[in-house]
Every structure is written in structure tokens, then in C-alpha cells.
């Protein structure tokens, strides 16, 4: 291994440690707040189907199929053991 390669390897390792040192203590908090945002977004997208009037349903409607994969986990997190929607039978 040449000196340059060694330097590059050392730099990569140092960058990895620095990044981990920055990220890992707050990984949990960040992921949780991200999940809270996503949960709210799911509510906005599926609000019309849940009976909550949504003035922008024209736009959110086309997102429903995209987010359908996450729907099951979302309704479980929201404390609903079974799917609250008639049309979506995920479980």
C-alpha cells in the first residue's frame, strides 16, 4: 500500500468515526421525530378516507398507492389493530 493510499484510508476511517460520533448519540431522537412527521403526513394523505375533510385531497389522492405499503404499520402505531378503512384491507 502506497503512502497516498494509506492517507486516504486513514481519512476515510477518521471521517467515518467523526460521522458516527456526530450521528449515533442522537440517532434515536432524529429517527423518532422523522417518524412523527411521516405519521402526520400519512394522516393528511388518508384523512379523506377516514372521514376528515381534506381541501387538498385532489393532490394527496395520487399519493395513496405510493404510501399504501406503509399503511399497515402506520395504523398499528396509531393504536388501531385493524385497518380503519373499508377499501384497504391490509390485515
Amino acid at each position: 500500500m502506497t503512502f497516498g493510499q494509506r492517507l486516504r484510508r486513514l481519512w476515510r476511517q477518521a471521517s467515518y468515526w467523526l460521522r458516527e460520533y456526530y450521528v449515533s448519540p442522537y440517532r434515536r431522537e432524529t429517527a423518532r421525530s422523522l417518524r412523527r412527521q411521516e405519521d402526520l403526513f400519512m394522516l393528511l394523505v388518508y384523512s379523506e378516507a377516514l372521514g376528515i375533510p381534506n381541501p387538498v385531497s385532489f393532490y394527496t389522492l395520487e399519493l395513496q398507492p405510493v404510501l399504501y405499503e406503509n399503511f399497515h404499520e402506520w395504523h398499528l402505531r396509531m393504536g388501531m389493530p385493524k385497518s380503519p378503512l373499508e377499501g384497504f384491507k391490509c390485515c
Partner: protein, 560 residues
């Protein structure tokens, strides 16, 4: 007595403790298994449970447990002479803190990475878990009140450190914003943040900041305390990526730099220890060495707070069970190294014994000033850094640490209050703002209630803070011992430190109770009584759980 000798002996004892005692504990007592599937692998979710490189994990475990306490405690305790403080720090680290921190990490790994307060219910029972929550809350309350006063004192005595300390709070959100919102890499924001901090440390003497002599009848000390609590309340409510995360990060890096500078200065300058080995002429009003030494130095010798960090976050990220020895034991050793800095600065940072005595005229009175001035003198002598800049460097290190601990513990207190709100169905308590205001209000009540309008309660209650911290450590050792008993393993290595800590804590509480009563400080009498009741509760719980576990073991309960 050359200070270098203290460094060499201290580091040598730490090394021997790590090399032999921690290995003995790992092999014979905790019996770490390389093949054990840790919670980080078993429950890996990319959020809470993430296998992490042991060096990285040690880095943030150490910076999470390191705070202002391992500096302030020893700085106060050298009033009895350097030998007692030095011995308690090195022996406490090797035989108490190392075993405790390592044990909390191991026990948590064996309980799916849950926090020690939670698996206590499983090992001992619900009542013990309740004592745990109460003691944790009391410790956090004390931490906030004490550290607010420490920072306020620093901001008043070293006015040149005000700007560099607070510039970090200004720079951190910019770093957080660049990293999270602009996807900037880590190197340049880090580099710029550190450079700005050190430029302000260097410029500090030219831009001293004083608060007005009186605002609404409040002295500068009280104004600082109020400002600090406002800051803590805001910081604990802001998203973590915006302030706490970049601020902790910059803080960790500057700690490594400051420690490097200090130890390099000690080796180059090799100052002499001028403080007496045993101080036979302590100032009037100084409490007796036994038991007060063991509660005055909590962090740096043994601290219950470490158990919370070890079992709360570190255990969920441990890649292999055998890494527990590296992360837990060496985390305690790192804290001991920080306490050694404080002992060196406050015993070898003076030209003569006369100067030292002039600094230590009251118990807990001149400790912080001595640490700053003594440390700055050593840095000046070793590296030629002007005294004012050295003093700034050490003040910023201490103030940032105290502030980091404060806003983290206000956040933790808020979580506890919200949890109480949920458990007892008190809806307003579940709201983050109400819970934060309550947490901050309780701490301010303590800071001002203990010390009057000047808000100097923190320093009066420093040993009281130590007692709650040691009580927490004793409680964690009880849980580890009972777990060991259930597994059919030797328990003396955890039981003896626990008995010692409980004995010292209860005696210190009784001594202080009498002192507060004589002074007519009914607020502190009540606080002391509260902690004493919690201590007695811990003793009873420990006794009952121990006999029950022993009876079960003798009856032939299966051991894993």
C-alpha cells in the same frame, strides 16, 4: 512532590485496573460471552438498536458521562489535602466506578438493552423501581441547581469566557442547519466551528461581558441563573438536530483538545504540588473528611449517573458483549482522568503553599476559581499560552460541560414528568411545555430556595448532590449484585462497594442534616430528609431483595 509523579502513578493504577481487575471481573464475575447475541443485533432497528464500533461507542459514552462534576468535586475535596482526593479518585475509579459502569452495561445487555430503572422491576420488584425513579428525579434536580450556580460563578469571575461560551450556542444551530438542511459534509462545519470557538477564546480578554449590577433587584449571579434556566427550557424543547446535537459534538471535540493541552503542559512544565498531603488546618466550617469526601467527589470516583447512560443508550449499541469491558470500564477511567486534571490544577497550579491557602479559605468557596487559575498557570508555564487565554480555555471547557449536562437533564426530567402524567392520568403534565416549565421551576426553586435571592444554593448543596448521585450508584450496584446472586456468581465485588457507598451516604446525610438544622435552613433540612428517606428505603429494599434472592438460590432456582 512533582505533579508528574501524580499523573504517572494515577495513569499506571488506571492501566493496572484495566489490564487485570477489569479482566478478572469480565472473566470470573460477569462472564462475558463473545458469542452472546447483543440487543443491538437481536433487536436491530436502525433507530434504538444499532451495532456500533466500540471506539465510537466509547467516544460518545465517555463524553455523555463526562461533565463538570468530576472537575468541581475534586477541586472542592483537595481542601482536606491532595492525598485523600487522589486516593479516592484512583481507587474509586478502579474498584468502584469501573465495576459499576461496566456492570450496568452488562446487566442491561442481558436484559434486552433496557434501562436499569426498568429492569429493576423484573429483578427486584415494582417498589424498587419506584425508588429508582424518585432517586433519579432528585439527582437530576440537584444536578441542574448545582450546575446553574457553577456556570453563574464562572460567568461572573471569568468575564472574558462569557463570549466564547455563548458563541457555541450561536454557532451550533448554523452547523446543525448546514448538516441537516444543506447536506454539508462534517469536516468543514466542524473545522469552522472549532476555529470560531478558539478565536473567541483568544479574543475573550478583549471583550469581557458583565451583566448589570442589579436588574429588578437581582444580583448578576441570580440573573445568570435565570438566563441559564431559560436557555435550558428552550434548548430542551428545540429539535435536537438544531442545537443539542451540534453543540454536544463541538463540546466533545474541544474536551479532547483541552485535555491534550493540559496534560502536555503538565509534562513540559512539570509543576510541583504545593498543597499539603493532608491538611491539618482546614478552614473553619469545613466538614470532616469521613464521610464527606466520598460524597463531595462522586463523578471521578463513582457516579450513579453513569449507570443511566450505560444502560440507557450505550447498551443498545454494543456490538459484542465483550466490548462492555472496553466501553464501560474505560468510560469510568476517562472520567477518572478528568478528575486527575482537577486535582493537578488545584494542587500544583499555585506558586506557594501560602497562595494555595489563600485560595482555600472556605469549604467549596474557592474551588472553581482555584481550578481556573491553577490550571491556567500550568498551561502558561508549559506551553507559554497567556494566563488569560488559559483561564478562558478551562472556563469554557467547564461551563460548556455544565451547560450540556443541564440541558440534557432538564430534557430527562421533562420525560419523567410526562411519564408521571401518563401513569397517574394527569393530562397537563403530559404536555412538553408544561412538563419543561415544571422541571425548570423545581430546579430554580432549589437553586434560590437553598441560597436565598443570590441563588447560591448550588454550592451549599454540592455534597447533597453527591449523596443523591452515590445513592443512585448504590441502587444500581444492588441490582447488579442481586442479578449475580441469581446467576450463582460471587457478589462481594459489587456488594462491598455498595455497602461502603450506602454507609458513607447515610452518614453524610445525617451530618449535613444536623448542620442545616443548626443554620435554621428549613428548605435544606426538608431536602436532606427526603434523600435520607430515599436512602433508608434503598437499604430496606436491598436487604429484602438480597435475602429473597439468596433463599431462591439456595432452594435451587435455575441459574443461566
Amino acid at each position: 512532590m512533582p505533579a508528574i509523579l501524580l499523573v504517572i502513578v494515577g495513569l499506571l493504577v488506571f492501566y493496572l485496573g484495566w489490564r487485570f481487575y477489569s479482566r478478572f471481573i469480565a472473566d470470573k464475575i460477569y462472564r462475558l460471552a463473545p458469542g452472546f447475541k447483543t440487543p443491538a443485533h437481536e433487536l436491530e432497528d436502525g433507530v434504538d438498536y444499532v451495532p456500533t464500533n466500540r471506539y465510537v461507542l466509547w467516544g460518545h459514552h465517555f463524553t455523555s458521562v463526562a461533565g463538570a462534576a468530576p472537575v468541581v468535586g475534586p477541586a472542592i475535596a483537595v481542601i482536606w489535602g491532595w492525598v485523600p482526593a487522589f486516593l479516592w479518585v484512583i481507587l474509586g475509579t478502579v474498584f468502584f466506578a469501573g465495576v459499576h459502569d461496566f456492570g450496568a452495561l452488562w446487566a442491561s445487555v442481558r436484559h434486552k438493552g433496557r434501562s436499569v430503572g426498568i429492569f429493576t422491576e423484573e429483578i427486584i420488584g415494582r417498589r424498587a423501581k419506584n425508588v429508582f425513579t424518585i432517586v433519579i428525579f432528585l439527582t437530576l434536580l440537584m444536578v441542574n441547581a448545582v450546575f446553574a450556580v457553577v456556570i453563574a460563578k464562572l460567568m461572573i469571575t471569568v468575564t472574558s469566557a462569557v463570549a466564547p461560551t455563548w458563541i457555541v450556542v450561536g454557532v451550533a444551530p448554523i452547523i446543525g442547519w448546514l448538516i441537516y438542511k444543506k447536506n454539508a459534509g462534517l469536516f468543514w462545519p466542524t473545522f469552522a466551528g472549532i476555529i470560531i470557538l478558539y478565536v473567541f477564546i483568544a479574543l475573550g480578554p478583549d471583550i469581557p461581558i458583565h451583566l448589570p449590577a442589579s436588574v429588578l433587584g437581582l444580583a448578576p449571579g441570580s440573573q445568570w441563573i435565570i438566563l441559564l434556566f431559560i436557555y435550558c427550557a428552550v434548548a430542551s424543547l428545540l429539535p435536537v438536530w438544531l442545537l443539542l446535537q451540534p453543540r454536544d459534538y463541538i463540546n466533545g471535540i474541544q474536551l479532547v483538545i483541552a485535555l491534550g493541552i493540559f496534560y502536555a503542559a503538565v509534562f513540559i512544565y512539570h509543576p510541583k504540588v504545593v498543597a499539603p498531603a493532608f491538611n491539618a488546618h482546614v478552614p473553619a466550617g469545613t466538614p470532616p473528611l469521613i464521610p464527606l469526601l466520598f460524597v463531595t467527589i462522586a463523578c471521578g470516583a463513582i457516579s450513579g449517573f453513569h449507570g443511566l447512560v450505560a444502560s440507557g443508550t450505550s447498551s443498545k449499541q454494543l456490538d459484542k458483549e465483550t466490548d462492555a469491558r472496553f466501553v464501560g470500564y474505560l468510560g469510568a477511567v476517562g472520567e477518572g482522568g478528568l478528575a486527575l486534571v482537577a486535582i493537578l490544577a488545584t494542587t500544583a497550579g499555585f506558586a506557594t503553599l501560602h497562595d494555595w491557602k489563600a485560595a482555600y479559605t472556605t469549604f467549596a468557596g474557592g474551588a472553581i476559581h482555584s481550578y481556573v487559575e491553577g490550571g491556567a498557570r500550568i498551561i502558561d508555564g508549559g506551553l507559554g499560552l497567556p494566563h488569560s487565554i488559559g483561564a478562558n480555555l478551562l472556563t469554557v471547557m467547564l461551563a460548556l460541560f455544565a451547560a450540556t449536562t443541564m440541558d440534557t437533564s432538564v430534557r430527562l426530567q421533562r420525560y419523567i414528568i410526562q411519564e408521571w402524567g401518563q401513569t397517574y392520568r394527569i393530562r397537563p403534565l403530559t404536555h412538553p411545555v408544561t412538563a419543561t416549565l415544571l422541571a425548570v421551576g423545581a430546579c430554580m426553586l432549589l437553586a434560590f430556595g437553598a441560597g436565598g435571592a443570590a441563588g447560591t444554593g448550588g454550592m451549599i448543596i454540592w455534597p447533597l448532590f453527591g449523596t443523591t448521585n452515590q445513592l443512585l450508584a448504590a441502587l444500581t450496584l444492588v441490582v447488579i449484585s442481586i442479578l449475580l446472586l441469581k446467576y450463582g456468581r460471587p457478589v462481594w465485588y459489587t456488594i462491598l462497594p455498595m455497602l461502603f457507598l450506602l454507609g458513607m451516604t447515610v452518614s453524610a446525610l445525617l451530618y449535613q442534616l444536623w448542620g442545616f438544622y443548626k443554620k435554621g435552613n428549613s428548605f435544606l433540612v426538608v431536602m436532606d430528609l427526603l434523600i435520607l428517606i430515599a436512602s433508608i428505603w434503598v437499604v430496606l429494599e436491598a436487604g429484602s431483595a438480597f435475602w429473597k434472592a439468596r433463599a431462591e438460590t439456595r432452594a435451587g432456582a435455575p441459574a443461566p
